[in-house]
């Protein structure tokens, strides 16, 4: 127990704020599975565009749906899309990047990196539209499209940082100890580029939420009646002059989540570095 508290005390402020912001939305998303103040599918045209009140804490939209409930369920979609998309990107991109770095200068390196360039060369939104056009618009297809475009980002960042680590003497020492490229990549390279990957991961996570919002905005993401922050933004744009809270609330939710994730990423990077850890 004492260790737990001392670990908490040593945490950087940015990490604490970041975790608090992020978990606020995570908890909201999880609670929405069990309970929401109002059902998101129930329309009540009579009670539309209400300002915040005791019954509707954040007001209602143009169909009379409760905004708080919409935001909670929307968090589910947005966060799930972003997590899975980053997962796909990291899961495929990092090993590819490590592979390319281990065979730097060889044909395998060329193959991986040119493949990356190929994916990079296509405008991501157009491909996402293509995928959703072929397989039909849905949250799942949005995830797939965003995830594929995360892959070359991670592969590139991984390779670039790994190359710098490969030149260090301790890698030579590991080779003298008979360790192969795969083992060195996992034991020595990965821990030393983890900080870069974490930061890149939180950036991609934020971009994932934004990308999902963008796809939903053009109607290719989550389909009605499932709410998502991007669709809420899209639906509210015609009413921005007389019901600004419809646009401001999902916008704030996106900003706060992205900010929370970035702070968490920075804080995690500091916490994972033994050099910074002991000094605190």
């Amino acid at each position: 127990m004492r260790q737990v508290t001392s670990a908490f005390v040593k945490m950087p402020t940015s990490l604490i704020v970041g975790i608090m912001l992020t978990s606020l939305f995570l908890v909201a998303a999880l609670v929405s599975f069990l309970w929401t103040p109002h059902a998101v599918e129930s329309l009540n045209i009579a009670a539309r565009l209400q300002p915040p009140s005791g019954d509707h804490l954040l007001g209602t939209d143009h169909f009379g749906r409760d905004m708080l409930s919409m935001l909670m369920v929307g968090a589910r979609t947005s966060i799930a899309v972003a997590i899975v998309a980053v997962g796909i990107g990291m899961g495929l991109g990092v090993p590819l990047g490590l592979l390319a770095a281990a065979h730097r200068g060889g044909w395998l390196d060329d193959l991986v990196m040119r493949g990356n360039d190929l994916v990079f060369a296509f405008p991501s939104l157009v491909i996402a539209i293509l995928i959703t056009a072929v397989f039909g618009p849905s949250a799942f297809n949005a995830i797939l499209a965003i995830g594929i475009f995360n892959m070359p980002v991670f592969a590139r960042v991984t390779r670039g940082s790994a190359l710098a680590v490969w030149t260090q003497d301790f890698i030579l020492a590991a080779r003298v100890s008979g360790k192969g490229a795969a083992r060195i990549s996992v034991e020595h390279i990965l821990p030393n580029i983890a900080n870069v990957l974490i930061v890149q991961g939180t950036i991609q996570f934020s971009l994932g939420i934004l990308a999902e919002a963008g796809l939903s905005y053009v109607g290719l993401g989550a389909q009605p009646p499932l709410p998502s922050w991007g669709r809420m933004l899209a639906d509210s744009q015609t009413m921005i002059s007389f019901a600004p809270h419809l646009a401001v609330l999902p916008g704030l939710a996106i900003i706060a989540t992205v900010l929370g994730l970035n702070l968490t990423g920075d804080g995690l990077r500091d916490l994972l570095d033994p050099r910074l850890r002991r000094q605190r």
Partner: protein, 532 residues
């Protein structure tokens, strides 16, 4: 007696709660070379940076500094910018990063003239050509339009000096100007600096950790320790009659020789290299074969069990490539390497027990360790080579024993590498090499980055370990003093070939090859009669 060129009075520098320079007073006469000696962290660089107002953020200075009687500390940043470059020039240790890689050397030297003297660009280039000529880079051989990457380290250092003396400053500050250079290059740069001072009115503040460099160049010396000047005086007097114990220990450490290790009567050959060739193939062009650059050209050598052999040569002579080949990290283009009767082959094919017979210690105590792993895991890494990997408890005991053997405590196993000083890190590197009891340890410039007193301790440690474990060393170095202290036999390498070999004492005392003679002559020496 005229006013001193640079007078520093009661200078202190504080960073936070730490006093890094503590009430220093010194004065440098016009046209004189003043040596500021001390080990890393003694505050010698901070003293110079404080004098010219380039302290890092957060550092606070007090006291006074005067250049030719004019107060320097009263000047604001704009006025100080006028002083730096015009009246005070400065050169740094690292020639690789001190020049802008995307501008030609002529432009970089001319820049000082354009900024400070308001010269026209063409006139400035003419003066720049003259200064580059003065530092030994004549325009007809090294053009003004060359870029830094086209020059060697020594040539870059000359460009930096040309830049610093472009406006004929009253004072030149040189912070470890030759530490990153080879001995023969170092000798050339020191000659140049001495010549520049001798022919004009310029004063030189030479900051170095190497007392031997100062012995040949400076007229007076101040020795710094922990931010204070512990002793100061005329160079020869200081060497002959130093009064402070720290000066004495520095002098002793720079000439330190560990107790000789008795050789076994009859030793079996351990490492045998025959006609080894190594090289890289460059990138080929269409219809043209890739050019071959040979780093090692037909080297043969042998190391007996328990023997310590030195390998001496300048950077680029192929000694590190040779070391990598011995470790099986570099496939040879020809010839053979045998270690304890087994052939060394590059790549995964090499049997683990052959690899386990040798280990390496690197030069850089900072890059040699994965900063993310605790010391226990770092030191235990070579256990990977053993067929029957030891259990956790056994490994942990062996790591503890290895740490004790190098003078650390087994409790250090739980710490991370950044918690150790450079000397301690080098001890951990030796512990890592030692932990699987190899027969041969390759020491690649293993003490070059260390302060003299730490270096002396590590040399003692290496000698002691050899006595205890019967290790053989291949000691790669450019420092003849260190090689003399720790090896019985020496090989001199030049351009990928061994030009001379034999007993260390004999080779260094009466070199047969002109290159060896050049190396010996270029090594800075404290005259024997000064320290006797």
């Amino acid at each position: 007696m005229s006013a001193p060129r640079l007078a520093i009075e009661g200078l202190s520098v504080r960073i936070g709660d730490m006093t890094v320079v503590d009430r220093i007073t010194l004065s440098i006469g016009a046209g004189k070379v003043f040596g500021l000696a001390g080990e890393s962290g003694s505050g010698k660089s901070m003293t110079a940076l404080a004098a010219i107002g380039l302290l890092p953020q957060g550092a606070v200075r007090s006291g006074a500094a005067r250049l030719d009687g004019n107060d320097l500390f009263g000047l604001d940043e704009a006025a100080m910018c006028g002083v730096r470059g015009r009246h005070i020039g400065m050169i740094f240790q690292e020639p690789m990063t001190a020049l802008n890689p995307v501008r030609s050397i002529g432009d970089q030297v001319a820049e000082t003239l354009v900024i400070h003297a308001g010269m026209h660009r063409q006139a400035a280039r003419d003066v720049a050509a003259d200064r580059l000529d003065r530092v030994g880079l004549p325009a007809d051989r090294i053009g003004l339009d060359r870029y830094p990457h086209e020059l060697s380290g020594g040539q870059r250092q000359r460009v930096m000096i040309a830049q610093a003396i472009a406006l004929q400053p009253a004072l030149l500050i040189a912070d470890e100007p030759t530490t990153a250079l080879d001995v023969t290059t170092q000798a050339g740069i020191l000659d140049l600096l001495g010549g520049l001072v001798a022919e004009g009115d310029m004063s030189l503040l030479l900051i170095t950790h190497d007392l031997a460099v100062l012995a040949g160049l400076s007229s007076s010396i101040a020795v710094m320790k922990d931010g204070r000047i512990v002793e100061t005086g005329e160079t020869e007097t200081l060497f002959r009659h130093h009064s402070h114990a720290y000066t004495a220990s520095l002098l002793a450490a720079s000439n330190h020789r560990p107790q000789a290790v008795p050789l076994p009567d009859k030793a079996d050959p351990l490492l045998r290299i025959e006609d080894l060739r190594l090289g890289y193939r460059g990138r080929g062009r269409l219809f043209r074969a890739a050019p071959l650059s040979e780093a090692v050209r037909g080297v043969s050598l042998s190391v007996d069990e328990g023997e310590s052999v030195g390998l001496v040569g300048e950077s680029g002579c192929g000694k590190s490539t040779l070391a990598r080949a011995i470790l099986g990290l570099e496939p040879p283009r020809g010839g053979s390497i045998t270690l304890a009767g087994t052939a060394v082959t590059a790549g995964q094919m090499m049997p683990a027990h052959t690899r386990a017979a040798m280990q390496i210690v690197f030069q850089d105590p900072y890059g040699s360790f994965n900063p993310r792993h605790p010391v226990e895991r770092l030191v235990a890494e070579p256990f990977h080579l053993l067929d029957d990997a030891p259990t956790r408890a056994e490994a942990s005991r062996a790591v503890g024993a290895a740490l004790e053997a190098v003078g650390l405590s087994p409790q250090d196993a739980g710490k991370y590498i950044h918690e150790f000083s450079g000397g301690q890190r080098q001890r951990i590197a030796i512990a890592r090499a030692l932990v699987i009891r190899p027969k041969l340890i390759i020491l690649d410039e293993a003490v070059s980055a260390l302060d003299v007193s730490i270096r002396a301790q590590i040399l003692d440690l290496l000698a002691g370990l050899r006595r205890e474990f019967g290790l053989a060393y291949l000691f790669i170095s450019h420092d003849l003093g260190v090689v003399r202290a720790i090896t019985e036999r020496v090989l001199v390498m030049k351009d990928g070939a061994i030009v001379e070999s034999g007993e260390t004492e004999r080779v260094l005392a009466s070199p047969a090859h002109p290159y060896t003679a050049e190396l010996v002559a270029a090594s800075p020496q404290i005259p024997q009669e000064w320290v006797a």
